[in-house]
């Protein structure tokens, strides 16, 4: 193979890599740490839990989805916590929607939060039964 041909192939490869990367949307996700939502609820077993300490990770430049993880702290309840994991996505109407699994048997559904990320959510058990409401405040 001639030297010029080798050079051509190498150049083509160097040009192709970023182009193909853009085609597959290779991006670097960001992690938003130390997020805090104050929460109030009357659900049994959760009424003593007052704050969600969460991190969120996602590439908001190339995606509309985030993973969310952390804990629900319960200082008024044996000073313990529940592990929390879930996700959030931006809907076609521009709303923020978040679903979290709290502990082993409770899910929290927050639908159509505005840009303030504050609003009412609903607790369900793993059977889908309504447990109660919660109000989340993002300051």
């Amino acid at each position: 193979m001639t030297e010029s041909l080798k050079l051509f192939c190498a150049t083509a490869l160097l040009v192709a890599i970023p182009i193909s990367a853009n085609a597959y949307r290779v991006g670097a996700p960001d992690t938003y740490s130390d997020l805090l939502w104050r929460v109030s609820s009357n659900v049994s077993g959760l009424s003593g839990c007052t704050e969600f300490q969460l991190d969120a990770t996602g590439d908001l430049l190339n995606s509309t989805k985030l993973i969310i993880y952390g804990s629900l702290n319960c200082p008024l309840q044996q000073s313990g916590s529940y592990g929390v994991s879930g996700s959030a996505y931006f809907g076609g109407d521009g709303s923020y929607n978040m679903t979290l699994l709290v502990g082993s048997s409770t899910s929290l559904q927050c639908v159509r939060f505005p840009a303030s990320l504050t609003g009412s959510c609903t607790y369900y058990d793993t059977f889908g039964n309504f447990l109660g409401s919660a109000f989340l405040t993002f300051r």
Binding site: D34, N73, G80, G83, F127
Partner: protein, 194 residues
Amino acid sequence: MNATARGLMAAGVLVVASGAVWLYLALNEPLASVGSPAPDARSQAAWQVDPSAAPRVATAIAPATTPVPPAVVLSGVAVHPDGSSNLAIVSVDRGPQTLLRVGDRLGSSAMVIRIDEASMTYRFAGNDLRVFVTAPSARISSAAKPQTPSSDQRPGFVADAPAIARANGSEPGSGNEGFRQAVERKMQAIAATR
């Protein structure tokens, strides 16, 4: 004309005459041929109408209204040692699963009357119907509270271990402003493309 000719002529006339007679009889012969057995009173041609037969009238009979039992799926059973507090995990008419005890209603028209290790029996429209569970039954201890978790905690609670801020001292909530700005930018970007 000699005798032979006359004889032949006579024979020919006889043949023609016989043929004409036969033809005449054939065209006017009755349906029942001579010598056929007498018609059987019990058998009749399909196209013949028996005037003595009662007319058959097709009537539409409306089916009796039968109540339809609910569609019950028994996903699991929790058996209490004393047998009196057994629970069944049930889905009715493809609805969400619920926990039921003896005496609870299934839908609006059925009631649970028995729960054992492998099945649940419910009464509907006066009939006892039994459904079986495929999953193995779970045994619960007499000290457990099968229906409602204690008011202090739900499954998954980790006592005395609240989540803390990061080790480098950042406080919970210190990331809120940055995240809110990122969320606002994203919402604006979505609105711009709508």
